[in-house]
Symmetry: C2
């Protein structure tokens, strides 16, 4: 998505540890008008998949999922991280390993909100090592629902997440794929 690549080049900052900071429009301050364009783009890509639910994980995925859901006209479900006593005990849970933190955490979805009749689109802001997306895919499988695909705003193409998802035969669509980045340059994978 050309507009997104331009926005990343204009507004993004590269920090040590392969961190691409885009918190002025995507995951701390949110440019809601821009996010609606992202939501519309996901709709253009996945509109033929008969999506019934959009699944994401708190926190930064929520805004993206809601922006897209307006076009699909389906509910959003966001998985909760860690312990949530309010969510009840009848849940689907997956363990997600965070390479950044070196520890694992649980993502959880109430069984009320996913079932075998659902065709689910997973959306998230970033894809790096892919562990969160794989956790959401496990939850969808446990619910006997169908994974329609995974939509990512920014994929770090130099990390393994993309390969792990594609080798499972799941359709992965990333609006921008960063192939390399340094302090003063960011290179995107070509769409050709």
């Amino acid at each position: 998505m050309k507009l997104l690549e331009e926005k990343i080049l204009t507004d993004g900052t590269v920090l040590p540890g392969n961190i691409l900071k885009v918190d002025n429009f995507l995951n701390h301050q949110i440019d809601v008008a821009f996010l609606n364009k992202i939501g519309e783009e996901f709709y253009n890509i996945f509109s033929s998949e008969n999506i019934t639910k959009i699944l994401t994980v708190e926190a930064s995925g929520i805004a993206i999922a809601c922006a897209a859901a307006q076009h699909f006209n389906v509910p959003v479900v966001f998985a909760k991280k860690g312990q949530h006593k309010n969510i009840g005990t009848d849940c689907f849970t997956a363990e997600v390993f965070s390479f950044t933190k070196g520890t694992s955490y649980d993502v959880t979805v109430s069984k009320k909100y996913l079932n075998e009749n659902d065709t689910v689109l997973i959306l998230d802001d970033f894809l790096a090592n892919g562990q969160a997306a794989l956790g959401l895919m496990k939850i969808i499988e446990d619910a006997k629902a169908k994974v329609a695909g995974v939509g990512i705003v920014i994929e770090k193409g130099f990390q393994q997440g993309g390969a792990l998802i594609r080798e499972k035969g799941v359709r992965l669509e990333s609006l921008a794929i960063v192939d390399s980045m340094t302090d003063d340059s960011i290179s995107f994978r070509s769409n050709d």
Copy 2:
């Protein structure tokens, strides 16, 4: 908001510990079309306040803030909970005591996203003891910005948060105020 009260009566469940569960449309599964009506209602209430930013706290406030921001045509900023190494060190921080958990946590906003020229609307899903809203108000004061008001989807009128905010002279508008609830009934405060 009549429509919201009806939705709470139809879809809400009361659990032990004064928990009102509305996770099938508000804070786990999200009914995006309904949330847009809530966002529009906040716009109708606060449209004359010259809002420049909407501030909320992760996670369940994000969807509500984004729904409203589309009508105000302003950015959303969501405060992060706990430690966030990616957010940088130049931040406004407030400590929030959770009566539910009996412990405190920090809410943090980068100094880049709030300043003295901002007129800020705080939005959140629930107001109970008011500690999160008071924390966000402190952050706005630290930024020398103006608090335009606080908009809440569901206020628990039998807890102290509403009184704490109103006695500071801040405009608080709750779309539904629950005055009492039991296993089989929920009573709302009249609008008169």
